[in-house]
């Protein structure tokens, strides 16, 4: 940084009398009270937060509750859509979205849990609970099961019709606590004239460490590569 020669009583014009670059070592740290951060370093992927009325510090983003674990399309046609190694001890509650699912035949759709992490296999026949829904024209859909390997979430999803839904999974990997699946789907059920929703709740009466799940079409395939499943781990607010 340099200053041009100034005449007697001449004031510095910052636009014309100053050139060069001030060495960074000579730059001051600007305090919060003057609009700065008063910080000399930061941490990747962290945000700033106030730690006092005039002090800032970097901190992890704690604003999010839903943390994406994985999101995938089925990629190719298949009768069973499996997601392994998505449930870990990091979270004890998960939310799973099933969007743009579609099957090529009128088909019962079931949901089951998996164990074994990345080398997963279907969990034992330990699921029990029920599904209850309401559809046009003013009819009820229902199912109940016990000691089942997989459980019904749609009695007869209409062929070539998109359906969507979501379910929560409680404590999948905590073997001391029974795993619960609770969710809802909306679909055309049985034919194009039947449309409605199903609520479902199932509990696994076992002490298995559930690390994944599967969605199965009992008849025919999920027939579009766009079928998407997204898994979110939920941060506890306590």
């Amino acid at each position: 940084m340099a200053l041009t020669r100034l005449g007697p009583n001449q004031s510095v014009n910052l636009a014309t009398n100053v050139t060069g670059t001030l060495a960074t070592g000579n730059l001051p740290t600007i305090p919060v009270t003057k609009g700065g951060t008063n910080l000399t370093s930061g941490t990747t992927d962290q945000f700033l937060k106030f730690t006092g009325t005039t002090t800032l510090a970097s901190a992890a983003d704690n604003a999010g509750i839903y943390n994406l674990v994985t999101s995938t399309t089925i990629g190719s046609e298949g009768a069973t859509f499996v997601v392994d190694d998505c449930f870990t001890d990091t979270y004890d509650k998960y939310l799973v979205f099933m969007d743009k699912l579609r099957n090529g035949n009128n088909s019962e759709i079931t949901l089951g849990l998996r164990t074994g992490g990345s080398s997963g296999s279907d969990a034992g026949s330990n699921m029990g609970g029920g599904m209850l829904g309401y559809r046009h024209s003013a009819t009820q859909t229902n199912s109940s099961q016990v000691n089942a390997p997989d459980v019904i979430i749609i009695g007869s999803a209409d062929q070539d019709t998109w359906w969507h839904g979501q379910f929560y999974v409680y404590y999948p990997t905590t073997t001391a606590v029974e795993t619960v699946i609770q969710g809802q789907v909306t679909a055309r059920d049985g034919s194009t004239t039947y449309a409605g929703f199903n609520d479902f709740g199932y509990i696994s009466l076992s002490t298995e460490d559930h690390t994944g799940f599967f969605i199965k079409s009992a008849t025919g395939n999920f027939n579009t590569v766009d079928c998407r499943v997204s898994v979110y781990g939920i941060t506890n607010g306590y």
């Binding site: 392994d84 190694d85 898994v231």
Partner: protein
Amino acid sequence: MAQKHIIHNAQTKETISVDYTAEEQAAYDDYNSTEKVTARKLEQVKEIRLEKLKETDYLALDDVTMSDAIKDYRQGMRDIPQNNTTEAEYDLILARDSDGKLTHSIWSKPA
């Protein structure tokens, strides 16, 4: 043709396709056999029949006289399993119009 699992690993983000095991394929084929499909359709027919019979149960009370037409209507529904045994026949009995109403004459309640 064997059915397939489409398996996604959440950690590696890899997705692979794996054929059903012989045991899984056998279970799939059994579930979708003509015999099992027909049996499930008959169960649907029976569920509908039960609801229809309930609608006219009050006509069987002592202080009410059930008409012969209603008797025939109820008996016709009771005879469905004896008179219809194939999947195609059950498809006709379960057929609905665009409003979701059953179209087979066997469900038509006499006036």
